[in-house]
Point group: C2
Chain length 155, copies 2
């Protein structure tokens, strides 16, 4: 009874504002990150989502599209054209898996591999821009991971 009532119960004004601020805070911070990365990534000719793909590949130089999608929470509708652009700029190579012709294996080219050394420069710059201590960063990250888990579970 009580649980059912909660569903239809009026939200206090206070809570409305708070909810609004949290979803918007995440939305706006994501944009702020993208903008902060942009001048740095422009120098190496990457967009922010492309940089995330490269981060994944710098950890493991050869992965199927599906795995990259799972790690970044992106589907092939987003990744296919993005990977095509990374291939055109010569950072990655795409080959059909001989053992499973449905799969496409994405691998780093020498040029893509050598770019890994620039990752440290990029991270230093962003780390300074964020202006948080390691502890703060870890705490926010942890909270967001929990929040994201909840949201994904709800869908």
């Amino acid at each position: 009874m009580k649980a059912q009532m909660a569903k239809t119960m009026e939200i206090p004004q206070e809570e409305r504002r708070l909810e609004k601020q949290l979803c918007f805070a995440v939305y706006a911070t994501a944009h702020a990150f993208t903008r902060a990365y942009k001048p740095i990534l422009d120098k190496v000719g990457l967009t922010y989502p492309q940089y995330l793909v490269m981060l994944v590949l710098w950890e493991k130089a050869e992965l199927p599209v599906k795995t990259i999608g799972e790690q970044l929470d992106l589907d092939s509708g987003t990744l296919s054209p993005l990977l095509k652009r990374l291939e055109q700029t010569g950072l990655i190579k795409r080959t059909r898996d001989a053992r499973d012709e449905r799969q496409v294996i994405v691998s780093l080219t020498p040029k893509g591999r050598s770019m890994k050394s620039e990752a440290a420069t990029i991270m230093t710059a962003i780390g300074q821009a964020a202006g948080c201590t390691l502890e703060e960063m870890a705490e926010i990250r942890g909270s967001l991971q929990k929040l994201r888990g909840n949201l994904n579970a709800a869908v």
Copy 2:
């Protein structure tokens, strides 16, 4: 001397992972929020950014495009087509300001105003999906606002 060295100092492996996780955590949580909102917003025929614009207008029913852009951190390149769609669905009206013909005043139609009552339903659903206490939500929001401020200041 020391400060200058910090700029070129090598980042420990630990910190690299952490930084990666924070920027990605924000990025992925933003997507998770959009996805969590989607089934709910589909019912009222709004996208998530359109919902944010409506939230702003439900607070103040009449605003110039520029002000909406400042509150949501979006430029006219994003807002112009978005507002055009909201006008086509009959939720808002756009009129040139007579006192300054450069400005366009966005205002709620009766239909747009009446939709405000659905905001509470939407927020309840998302609040439950987020599965956080009010304290947690407030804490994350606060951290993100600080982080966003730092990132914006750096650009």
